[in-house]
Protein backbone atom coordinates (compact mmCIF):
# COMPACT_ATOMS: atom_id res chain seq x y z
CA UNK A 1 0.00 0.00 0.00
CA UNK A 2 2.65 2.51 1.10
CA UNK A 3 4.88 1.53 -1.82
CA UNK A 4 2.31 2.86 -4.30
CA UNK A 5 2.06 6.17 -2.48
CA UNK A 6 5.85 6.41 -2.17
CA UNK A 7 6.15 5.88 -5.92
CA UNK A 8 3.53 8.59 -6.38
CA UNK A 9 5.55 10.91 -4.12
CA UNK A 10 8.73 10.18 -6.10
CA UNK A 11 6.96 10.84 -9.41
CA UNK A 12 5.18 13.98 -8.30
CA UNK A 13 7.83 15.62 -6.14
CA UNK A 14 11.13 14.02 -7.24
CA UNK A 15 14.13 16.02 -6.03
CA UNK A 16 12.00 18.21 -3.80
CA UNK A 17 12.02 15.31 -1.32
CA UNK A 18 14.90 16.10 1.00
CA UNK A 19 14.51 13.25 3.45
CA UNK A 20 12.59 10.05 4.06
CA UNK A 21 12.23 9.02 7.69
CA UNK A 22 11.24 5.47 8.70
CA UNK A 23 8.36 4.59 10.97
CA UNK A 24 9.73 4.13 14.47
CA UNK A 25 8.69 1.17 16.57
CA UNK A 26 7.35 3.63 19.13
CA UNK A 27 6.69 7.37 19.05
CA UNK A 28 10.01 9.19 19.60
CA UNK A 29 10.08 10.67 23.09
CA UNK A 30 12.92 11.94 25.23
CA UNK A 31 16.32 13.34 24.20
CA UNK A 32 17.79 9.96 23.29
CA UNK A 33 15.03 9.13 20.83
CA UNK A 34 15.13 12.65 19.37
CA UNK A 35 18.85 12.23 18.76
CA UNK A 36 18.18 8.95 16.98
CA UNK A 37 15.37 10.43 14.87
CA UNK A 38 17.65 13.33 13.96
CA UNK A 39 20.17 10.96 12.35
CA UNK A 40 17.51 9.64 9.96
CA UNK A 41 16.28 13.12 9.08
CA UNK A 42 19.71 14.62 8.50
CA UNK A 43 21.26 11.66 6.63
CA UNK A 44 18.59 9.99 4.58
CA UNK A 45 19.18 6.35 3.74
CA UNK A 46 15.90 5.46 2.09
CA UNK A 47 15.53 5.84 -1.69
CA UNK A 48 12.20 6.10 -3.47
CA UNK A 49 11.27 4.19 -6.61
CA UNK A 50 9.20 6.19 -9.06
Amino acid sequence: MQQQHLADIARKFGDRVQSVVPMFTREPKGLEMIEQASRYLMNCEIALEA
Binding site: M1, Q2, Q3, H5, L6, A7, D8, I9, A10, K12, F13, G14, D15, R16, V17, Q18, S19, V20, V21, P22, M23, P28, K29, G30, L31, I34, E35, A37, S38, Y40, L41, M42, N43, C44, I46, A47, L48, E49, A50
Partner: protein
Protein backbone atom coordinates in the same frame (compact mmCIF):
# COMPACT_ATOMS: atom_id res chain seq x y z
CA UNK B 1 13.39 0.01 -15.03
CA UNK B 2 12.01 2.26 -12.24
CA UNK B 3 13.71 5.63 -11.67
CA UNK B 4 15.26 5.99 -8.27
CA UNK B 5 14.95 9.20 -6.22
CA UNK B 6 17.69 9.42 -3.63
CA UNK B 7 16.96 12.19 -1.10
CA UNK B 8 20.19 13.52 0.38
CA UNK B 9 18.96 14.28 3.87
CA UNK B 10 18.64 17.67 5.53
CA UNK B 11 22.33 17.83 6.44
CA UNK B 12 23.26 18.45 2.77
CA UNK B 13 20.61 21.14 2.51
CA UNK B 14 21.96 23.04 5.50
CA UNK B 15 25.56 22.61 4.38
CA UNK B 16 24.59 24.24 1.10
CA UNK B 17 22.54 26.96 2.81
CA UNK B 18 24.71 28.03 5.74
CA UNK B 19 22.97 31.40 6.17
CA UNK B 20 19.56 29.97 7.00
CA UNK B 21 18.46 31.23 10.40
CA UNK B 22 14.72 30.53 10.28
CA UNK B 23 13.30 27.10 9.56
CA UNK B 24 9.56 26.58 9.31
CA UNK B 25 8.00 23.12 9.37
CA UNK B 26 4.52 23.17 7.90
CA UNK B 27 1.91 20.50 7.32
CA UNK B 28 -1.16 19.01 8.92
CA UNK B 29 -1.17 17.70 12.49
CA UNK B 30 -0.15 14.13 13.28
CA UNK B 31 2.33 13.69 10.42
CA UNK B 32 5.49 14.04 12.47
CA UNK B 33 6.08 17.78 12.19
CA UNK B 34 7.06 18.03 15.84
CA UNK B 35 9.43 15.06 15.54
CA UNK B 36 11.07 16.64 12.48
CA UNK B 37 11.46 20.07 14.04
CA UNK B 38 12.79 18.59 17.30
CA UNK B 39 15.23 16.40 15.34
CA UNK B 40 16.57 19.38 13.40
CA UNK B 41 16.80 21.43 16.60
CA UNK B 42 18.82 18.62 18.17
CA UNK B 43 21.20 18.50 15.21
CA UNK B 44 21.67 22.29 15.06
CA UNK B 45 22.30 22.63 18.78
CA UNK B 46 24.33 19.46 19.47
CA UNK B 47 26.16 18.78 16.21
CA UNK B 48 26.50 22.29 14.77
CA UNK B 49 26.71 23.89 18.24
CA UNK B 50 24.34 26.67 17.24
CA UNK B 51 22.29 28.45 19.85
CA UNK B 52 18.90 27.09 18.80
CA UNK B 53 15.34 28.05 19.65
CA UNK B 54 12.58 25.53 18.95
CA UNK B 55 9.13 27.12 18.91
CA UNK B 56 5.56 25.88 18.92
CA UNK B 57 2.09 27.26 19.68
CA UNK B 58 0.32 23.95 19.71
CA UNK B 59 -2.46 24.02 22.33
CA UNK B 60 -1.96 20.27 22.63
CA UNK B 61 1.56 21.08 23.80
CA UNK B 62 3.29 18.53 21.58
CA UNK B 63 6.81 19.75 22.33
CA UNK B 64 6.05 19.18 26.00
CA UNK B 65 5.01 15.71 24.98
CA UNK B 66 8.09 14.79 22.93
CA UNK B 67 10.59 16.30 25.39
CA UNK B 68 8.61 14.81 28.29
CA UNK B 69 8.43 18.02 30.28
CA UNK B 70 6.07 20.95 30.46
CA UNK B 71 6.96 24.10 28.50
CA UNK B 72 3.50 25.47 27.81
CA UNK B 73 3.35 29.20 28.44
CA UNK B 74 6.54 29.08 30.55
CA UNK B 75 8.92 31.01 28.28
CA UNK B 76 12.22 29.85 26.79
CA UNK B 77 13.60 26.77 28.56
CA UNK B 78 17.03 25.20 27.95
CA UNK B 79 16.69 21.42 27.57
CA UNK B 80 20.26 20.63 26.49
CA UNK B 81 23.30 22.84 25.95
CA UNK B 82 22.38 25.40 23.25
CA UNK B 83 18.91 23.93 22.81
CA UNK B 84 16.01 26.09 23.99
CA UNK B 85 12.33 25.29 23.68
CA UNK B 86 9.40 27.69 23.86
CA UNK B 87 5.75 26.75 23.67
CA UNK B 88 3.59 29.84 23.28
CA UNK B 89 0.19 30.06 24.89
CA UNK B 90 -1.53 31.80 21.96
CA UNK B 91 -4.84 32.20 23.84
CA UNK B 92 -3.10 34.15 26.56
CA UNK B 93 -1.38 36.31 23.97
CA UNK B 94 -4.74 37.08 22.35
CA UNK B 95 -6.19 38.03 25.74
CA UNK B 96 -3.15 40.24 26.51
CA UNK B 97 -3.44 41.89 23.12
CA UNK B 98 -7.14 42.60 23.63
CA UNK B 99 -6.38 44.14 27.02
CA UNK B 100 -3.67 46.34 25.49
CA UNK B 101 -6.03 47.54 22.72
CA UNK B 102 -8.62 48.48 25.34
CA UNK B 103 -6.01 50.32 27.35
CA UNK B 104 -4.81 52.21 24.27
CA UNK B 105 -8.37 53.28 23.46
CA UNK B 106 -8.79 54.57 27.03
CA UNK B 107 -5.46 56.43 26.91
CA UNK B 108 -5.97 57.92 23.46
CA UNK B 109 -9.46 59.21 24.10
CA UNK B 110 -9.08 59.97 27.80
CA UNK B 111 -11.85 57.53 28.80
CA UNK B 112 -12.31 55.71 32.10
CA UNK B 113 -14.07 52.83 30.40
CA UNK B 114 -14.14 51.44 26.87
CA UNK B 115 -17.65 51.98 25.38
CA UNK B 116 -19.71 48.80 25.74
CA UNK B 117 -20.20 48.04 22.02
CA UNK B 118 -16.50 48.49 21.31
CA UNK B 119 -15.60 46.30 24.25
CA UNK B 120 -17.98 43.59 23.03
CA UNK B 121 -16.48 43.83 19.56
CA UNK B 122 -12.94 43.46 20.88
CA UNK B 123 -13.96 40.50 23.06
CA UNK B 124 -15.70 38.78 20.15
CA UNK B 125 -12.46 38.73 18.15
CA UNK B 126 -11.13 35.90 20.40
CA UNK B 127 -13.34 33.56 18.42
CA UNK B 128 -11.59 34.56 15.18
CA UNK B 129 -8.99 32.01 14.01
CA UNK B 130 -7.15 34.94 12.44
CA UNK B 131 -6.53 36.35 15.92
CA UNK B 132 -4.87 33.11 16.96
CA UNK B 133 -2.74 33.11 13.82
CA UNK B 134 -1.84 36.71 14.22
CA UNK B 135 -0.82 36.08 17.85
CA UNK B 136 1.40 33.24 16.63
CA UNK B 137 3.14 35.35 13.98
CA UNK B 138 3.50 38.16 16.44
CA UNK B 139 5.23 35.85 18.92
CA UNK B 140 7.48 34.51 16.15
CA UNK B 141 8.39 38.01 14.94
CA UNK B 142 9.14 39.16 18.47
CA UNK B 143 11.51 36.26 19.15
CA UNK B 144 13.35 36.68 15.86
CA UNK B 145 13.64 40.45 16.34
CA UNK B 146 15.30 39.89 19.72
CA UNK B 147 18.31 38.26 17.93
CA UNK B 148 19.17 36.01 20.86
CA UNK B 149 19.65 32.81 18.86
CA UNK B 150 21.63 31.62 15.84
CA UNK B 151 18.73 29.63 14.45
CA UNK B 152 14.95 29.59 15.00
CA UNK B 153 12.98 26.43 14.24
CA UNK B 154 9.21 26.81 14.08
CA UNK B 155 6.87 23.86 14.44
CA UNK B 156 3.87 25.55 12.83
CA UNK B 157 0.33 24.93 14.00
CA UNK B 158 -1.66 23.03 11.36
CA UNK B 159 -3.45 25.99 9.76
CA UNK B 160 -3.04 26.87 6.12
CA UNK B 161 0.35 25.11 5.92
CA UNK B 162 1.94 28.17 7.45
CA UNK B 163 1.64 29.68 3.99
CA UNK B 164 -1.34 31.81 4.84
CA UNK B 165 0.96 33.74 7.14
CA UNK B 166 2.64 35.26 4.11
CA UNK B 167 -0.60 35.96 2.28
CA UNK B 168 -2.14 37.47 5.41
CA UNK B 169 0.89 39.61 6.10
CA UNK B 170 0.69 40.97 2.58
CA UNK B 171 -3.02 41.82 2.88
CA UNK B 172 -2.51 43.38 6.32
CA UNK B 173 0.38 45.41 5.07
CA UNK B 174 -1.65 46.79 2.14
CA UNK B 175 -4.60 47.53 4.42
CA UNK B 176 -2.45 49.38 6.93
CA UNK B 177 -0.85 51.31 4.07
CA UNK B 178 -4.25 52.50 2.81
CA UNK B 179 -5.37 53.50 6.28
CA UNK B 180 -2.07 55.24 6.90
CA UNK B 181 -2.57 57.26 3.71
CA UNK B 182 -6.07 58.30 4.75
CA UNK B 183 -4.93 59.20 8.24
CA UNK B 184 -2.00 61.25 7.02
CA UNK B 185 -4.48 63.40 5.03
CA UNK B 186 -6.54 63.85 8.21
CA UNK B 187 -3.35 64.76 10.09
CA UNK B 188 -2.57 67.46 7.50
CA UNK B 189 -6.01 69.07 7.95
CA UNK B 190 -5.63 68.72 11.70
CA UNK B 191 -2.34 70.57 11.61
CA UNK B 192 -3.83 73.38 9.49
CA UNK B 193 -6.79 73.68 11.85
CA UNK B 194 -4.45 73.78 14.84
CA UNK B 195 -2.33 76.52 13.23
CA UNK B 196 -5.43 78.58 12.42
CA UNK B 197 -6.56 78.26 16.02
CA UNK B 198 -3.07 79.20 17.17
CA UNK B 199 -2.62 75.78 18.87
CA UNK B 200 0.33 73.48 18.70
CA UNK B 201 -0.29 70.40 16.49
CA UNK B 202 -0.47 67.10 18.37
CA UNK B 203 1.02 63.81 17.39
CA UNK B 204 -1.40 61.27 15.91
CA UNK B 205 -1.17 58.28 18.25
CA UNK B 206 -3.41 56.05 16.10
CA UNK B 207 -1.30 56.78 13.05
CA UNK B 208 1.87 55.95 14.94
CA UNK B 209 0.35 52.67 16.08
CA UNK B 210 -0.56 51.75 12.48
CA UNK B 211 2.90 52.61 11.21
CA UNK B 212 4.42 50.46 13.96
CA UNK B 213 2.19 47.50 13.02
CA UNK B 214 3.01 47.88 9.33
CA UNK B 215 6.75 48.10 9.99
CA UNK B 216 6.65 45.01 12.18
CA UNK B 217 4.73 43.00 9.57
CA UNK B 218 7.00 44.17 6.78
CA UNK B 219 10.20 43.33 8.63
CA UNK B 220 8.90 39.85 9.36
CA UNK B 221 7.59 39.08 5.85
CA UNK B 222 10.81 40.40 4.32
CA UNK B 223 12.67 37.94 6.50
CA UNK B 224 10.53 34.88 5.87
CA UNK B 225 10.42 35.45 2.12
CA UNK B 226 14.21 35.82 2.01
CA UNK B 227 15.33 32.46 0.58
CA UNK B 228 18.85 32.93 1.83
CA UNK B 229 17.81 33.24 5.47
CA UNK B 230 14.58 31.23 5.68
CA UNK B 231 13.78 27.63 4.79
CA UNK B 232 10.29 26.09 4.59
CA UNK B 233 9.87 22.34 4.86
CA UNK B 234 6.65 20.48 4.49
CA UNK B 235 6.14 17.18 6.25
CA UNK B 236 3.96 14.50 4.69
CA UNK B 237 3.29 10.80 5.01
CA UNK B 238 2.75 8.27 2.21
CA UNK B 239 -1.03 8.62 2.13
CA UNK B 240 -3.30 9.97 -0.58
CA UNK B 241 -4.70 12.93 1.38
CA UNK B 242 -1.26 14.05 2.52
CA UNK B 243 0.03 13.91 -1.06
CA UNK B 244 -2.90 15.99 -2.35
CA UNK B 245 -2.39 18.43 0.48
CA UNK B 246 1.28 18.81 -0.38
CA UNK B 247 0.43 19.49 -4.03
CA UNK B 248 -1.96 22.21 -2.91
CA UNK B 249 0.64 23.74 -0.59
CA UNK B 250 3.24 23.78 -3.37
CA UNK B 251 0.75 25.53 -5.65
CA UNK B 252 0.03 28.12 -2.92
CA UNK B 253 3.73 28.73 -2.44
CA UNK B 254 4.16 29.19 -6.16
CA UNK B 255 1.23 31.63 -6.31
CA UNK B 256 2.85 33.71 -3.58
CA UNK B 257 6.16 33.75 -5.45
CA UNK B 258 7.79 31.62 -2.77
CA UNK B 259 9.65 28.37 -2.90
CA UNK B 260 9.38 25.32 -0.67
CA UNK B 261 12.88 24.32 0.41
CA UNK B 262 12.00 20.66 0.59
CA UNK B 263 9.71 17.87 1.67
CA UNK B 264 10.18 15.36 4.45
CA UNK B 265 8.38 12.05 4.04
CA UNK B 266 7.65 10.52 7.40
CA UNK B 267 6.40 7.24 8.86
CA UNK B 268 7.80 5.12 6.04
CA UNK B 269 7.95 1.33 6.37
CA UNK B 270 11.17 0.14 4.70
CA UNK B 271 10.65 -1.86 1.49
CA UNK B 272 12.61 -4.79 2.94
CA UNK B 273 9.74 -5.41 5.36
CA UNK B 274 7.77 -6.85 2.47
CA UNK B 275 10.41 -9.49 1.83
CA UNK B 276 11.15 -10.34 5.45
CA UNK B 277 9.58 -13.71 6.39
CA UNK B 278 8.54 -12.72 9.94
CA UNK B 279 6.56 -9.60 8.87
CA UNK B 280 2.95 -9.72 10.03
CA UNK B 281 0.12 -9.54 7.52
CA UNK B 282 -0.89 -6.15 8.99
CA UNK B 283 2.52 -4.59 8.37
CA UNK B 284 2.80 -6.26 4.99
CA UNK B 285 -0.46 -4.60 3.94
CA UNK B 286 0.65 -1.25 5.26
CA UNK B 287 4.03 -1.33 3.61
Amino acid sequence: MPTLVRPRGLESYFNEHPDVEIVIFAGKGGLGKTTSSSSLAWYMSQVKKKRTLLFSTDPQASLSDIFERNFYGLGEIEVAPNLFVVEIDADRRVADYQASVKQKIKDMYGLDEVPREIEEYIDSTSAEPAMYESATYDAMAELVAAHEYDIYIFDMPPFGHGVRMVAMADILSKWVEKITEARSKVAEYDAIAATLKGEKGHEDAVMQELIDIRNKIKAFTDLITDRRRTAFFMVLIPEKMAILDTERALAMFHALGMEMSGLVVNQVYPRELLDRPGTSEYLRNRS
